[in-house]
Amino acid sequence: MIWGVLQFPGSCDERDALHACAAASGESHLIWHQERDLSHVDGIVVPGGFSYGDYLRAGALARFSPAMTTVAKFAAEGGPVLGICNGFQVLCEAGLLPGALLRNVELRFICKQVKLKAVGGEGDGERLSIPMKHGEGRYYAPPEQLDELEARGQVAYRYADGHNSNGSVRDIAGVRNEAGNVVGLMPHPEHAVDPLTGSTDGLQVFRALERFAA
């Protein structure tokens, strides 16, 4: 499978994601945000970073990039899309995923290794050790919407007990769309693909989406 990794001005983790995609699934390419033709890839990663500086609201500008129009179409057609950190924020801003990411409850950027539980889909219940690093990662949605999300199995990852450092509602670290082909999470699976740098648990996050590739 070939992953395409979007690159916006201000992206930070796109090279890490490129490497992780290759390690997980075999092949990957960078895609400049001005590109509209994504026909050469089987899945899309919207990577972490500070697209357009995130001075307005995280992800609020990147969603208007030309490539995002194609990503929306690609997602609607059932193609796998993974948003990581800023990418998750972009997907929420674009309306491809429900909810929003607010400033961490302690109002500080936090970088640390955390434990996650995979929920639903492949690998349900597995515990993953993956780093988080963000200042605006507190997942939020109104209670009624959360009930619906949970009923429809749209919670994809939760922080394990004691690992919800940003104050996310119901320990939610990541969500999926109804069809399951679009997933976003705040922790960084692309930084957990090499035993030398801490963990290889992140590979599963990429591989769990492979079944949606055409």
Binding site: G10, C12, D13, K133
Partner: protein, 733 residues
């Protein structure tokens, strides 16, 4: 203009306001053959400031060894660089942003990071790591907590946003930094050696292109006003001289410059830092032996109606200056457009040897490059050793405290306690190179798949010990850095430094600087380590006097296999614990002496050759992968080092310090004494014996038990960990 006239008096006042002495002003008049205009006076005042001209330190710095086999770029370039094999070089540099941070810590620290990043990508290296060396007053001061909080947020804001990992650093809290904090930022970059570029302008007729952000009125006079004078009353009014950082703009400029260099579109590249366009243009021209004409009317401005001198001295951030062949300017501008960053042709390289400044057709300045860059007089400092300890003493721990209470007091001392509160605010992972995260080993370890090896980086400098003895303390800083590298199996490739001192025109700071530079030179020569760059920050004083003299030393080392690196934490029950190296603990200058209010002039001298031999032995042992842990004995002595190794592992130890008693140490010296040369290792007994380690005990249990003659410590891991992790609750609580 004759003496006594109004015009003469006014001109006198102006040059003094800009930081030039009457003597220096006279020299400028002599070199120009006339009185300087506004633009010229502004430009001279910046380039002849201490910050740019090193006029009180340049002669001393000639003592440092700057040539070595692995050096790719040495002092004088934007950053030093060493060969790491496979056609790759590692560039690194540390620079101070002390006074801006003391005035406005968030922007001061943020732009400190931005500036050092530009220095590294200016030579064509992609920044891969940031480290910071920070100094504040004592933690019980509201001002210090404010400065710490602002500086940490600022460093995080810039480094996190631009996507460069902050992998290490150090923070000390000492009273003499109360008014004048230190923020030293370091950047490490990786480059293909063939893609690297120098800052020398070349090719008469080539275009000078300004890239990146627009030019505004921020930071005007930063180098002369902030960096080259003491802080004092009215610092609030200096806020406009602090620049404002935009990491998003820098991220675009960074990617843009690296793409331009990869495509071979640039003749040379230089960042705009202190003194803005003035120093960049003058230094590029000087390095290339050419002249440059600049038309300020072509510089994209943030606000209209800026005066030519303002444009020339503005320290607006996120700007780079490139020399480009005329036929390639369009291609260069297209790459800038792709990255949505600015570009403008603002000048041309000439053969005149002059910097000429135009506003359209009007000439507003014309100065010989040589006079600007090399014309500043270099001063001899006049050192005088003070009579005794010139800094204060404050007792916070009674001498009667028992050893366990003493250990807890040391572990919770802000300078020793875990800096997790700090480093968790930094992205330490981006780039996927970080093999050892902060506080898991004595040095940061970054893998370099490109060169099929790894590098280790450490940054060190205990100002208190340098204050006790500037020579011995500086030697120790170099040794500690080398020891930290040895603990992860790395061999030093090069050294950079930032010399933070008080006013060099006063005898005591002059003496501290003189002795420290000699110590730095002697230690580097003894270890065979080359100095590839450095930075000097003088005039670090407040109303109460100078800061502790603080040479911050950083080394980059190379190691073949990052998978074999030991951590600082113990690993397995039953492992032997041993001491290697010529460690002769002494309470002079120690954290314990500080807490007891017993600091005094003087430190024992180091056995540099013996420490160097121990570093080699430990490095080789670590590289075999058979040691379980390696930790250098530093602040707080052996008891603190043991506690740190135990806390990191969640494993206790049983120790008897009798061997140190037999070396003549008192129980207190054995437990808490400090000094260079000591390595605390754990692993199989046979491995430690083979290294000639002095056996101290075993790993195991949930308590740290240390016997030292009639003194002993038995402390639970939880109690020790709580003390060591107390910084966060004291800052947030």
């Amino acid at each position: 203009m004759s003496e006594g006239t109004d015009a003469y008096v006014e001109e006198q006042a102006k040059h003094r306001e800009l930081g030039l002495t009457d003597y220096e002003y006279g020299l400028i008049v002599e070199k120009l053959g006339r009185t300087p205009g506004d633009v010229e006076l502004a430009m001279f005042s910046l380039l002849w400031s201490e910050h740019c001209a090193y006029k009180h330190s340049r002669k001393l710095l000639r003592r440092l060894p700057t040539e070595g086999e692995r050096v790719v770029m040495g002092p004088g370039e934007n950053a030093g660089a060493v060969d790491v094999g496979n056609g790759y070089a590692v560039a690194f540099k540390v620079e101070s942003h002390n006074h801006p941070s003391a005035v406005e810590p968030f922007q001061g620290a943020a732009t400190g990071v931005g500036g050092i990043l530009r220095d590294v990508f200016a030579i064509g290296a992609r920044p891969i790591a940031i480290l910071d060396s920070l100094r504040f007053g004592e933690l019980d001061s509201v001002r210090s907590r404010h400065l710490l909080d602002g500086a940490v947020r600022g460093i995080g804001h810039y480094g996190n946003s631009i996507g460069v990992a902050t992998v290490g650093g150090e923070v000390y809290f000492e009273e003499p930094y109360e008014h004048n904090c230190l923020v030293n930022a370091m950047c490490v970059g990786l480059a293909r050696t063939e893609d690297m570029v120098r800052a020398a302008a070349a090719g008469v007729g080539n275009s000078v292109v300004l890239m990146g952000a627009t030019t505004g009125r921020d930071g005007i006079g930063g180098a002369s006003v902030l960096a080259s004078a003491e802080l004092g009353d009215g610092d609030e009014a200096k806020r406009p001289t602090v620049q404002v950082g935009d990491p998003f703009e820098e991220s675009k400029v960074l990617e843009c410059c690296l793409e331009l260099l990869e495509k071979g579109l640039l003749v040379s590249l230089q960042d705009l830092g202190a003194a803005g366009l003035t120093s960049s243009a003058a230094e590029m021209a000087s390095a290339g032996g050419v002249g440059i004409d600049i038309d300020v009317a072509t510089v994209p401005l943030r606000e209209p109606d800026m005066e030519p001198f303002e444009i020339m001295v503005s320290e607006s951030q996120e700007r780079m200056l490139a020399v480009v062949e005329p036929e390639r300017v369009d291609e260069v501008r297209a790459v800038c457009d792709k990255w949505e960053t600015g570009s403008a042709e603002i000048g041309v390289v000439t053969d005149t040897g002059l910097i000429k400044i135009f506003r359209g057709a009007e000439t507003v300045g014309e100065m010989p490059v040589e006079a600007l860059v090399d014309g500043c007089p270099l001063y001899d400092i006049e050192p005088a050793e003070p009579e005794g300890w010139i800094y204060g003493n404050r007792e916070t721990l009674a001498p009667s405290a028992d050893p366990e209470a003493t250990l807890l007091a040391l572990l919770s001392a802000p300078s020793i306690a875990s800096k997790r509160w700090v480093f968790e605010q930094y992205d330490s992972l981006v780039g996927s190179r970080t093999v050892r995260r902060p506080e898991s080993a004595d040095a940061a370890v970054l893998q370099l798949p490109e060169a099929a090896n790894a590098i280790a980086v450490s940054i060190d400098g205990n100002g208190r010990r340098v204050a006790c003895d500037p020579y011995a303390g500086t030697v120790e800083a170099v040794l500690e850095c080398a020891q930290n590298l040895a603990c992860v199996g790395a061999e030093p490739l090069g050294l950079t430094n930032c010399l933070n001192f008080g006013n060099p025109e006063k005898p005591t700071p002059a003496w501290q600087l003189d002795r420290a530079v000699t110590g730095l030179a002697d230690a580097c020569n003894a270890l065979g380590v080359t100095v590839v760059g450095g930075n000097v920050s003088l005039y670090n004083e407040g109303p109460d006097g100078p800061i502790y003299p603080t040479p911050v030393v950083s080394m980059v080392g190379e190691l073949p296999d990052p998978s074999l690196v030991a951590g600082l934490g113990f690993a397995s029950e039953g492992d032997a614990i041993g001491l290697v190296g010529p460690f002769e603990p002494n309470l002079a200058g120690s954290e314990l002496a500080k807490q007891r209010g017993e600091l005094d002039h003087g430190l024992p001298q180091s056995e540099v050759a013996a420490v160097a031999a121990a570093c080699t032995a430990v490095r080789d042992a670590v590289r075999t992968g058979r040691l379980a842990s390696a930790h250098d004995i530093s602040d707080g002595g052996l008891a603190v080092a043991l506690a740190e190794s135990a806390i990191a592992a969640g494993l206790g130890c049983r120790i008897d310090l009798q061997p140190l008693r037999e070396r003549g140490c008192t129980p207190e010296e054995a437990l808490f004494g400090e000094g260079p040369g000591g390595f605390l290792l754990s692993g199989p007994r046979a491995e430690l014996d083979a290294l000639g380690a002095v056996h101290l005990g075993e790993v195991g249990g949930t308590t740290v038990e240390i016997a030292a003659g009639d003194r002993s410590i038995v402390a639970g891991l939880g109690t020790l960990a709580d003390a060591w992790h107390s910084l966060g609750s004291r800052l947030d609580g």
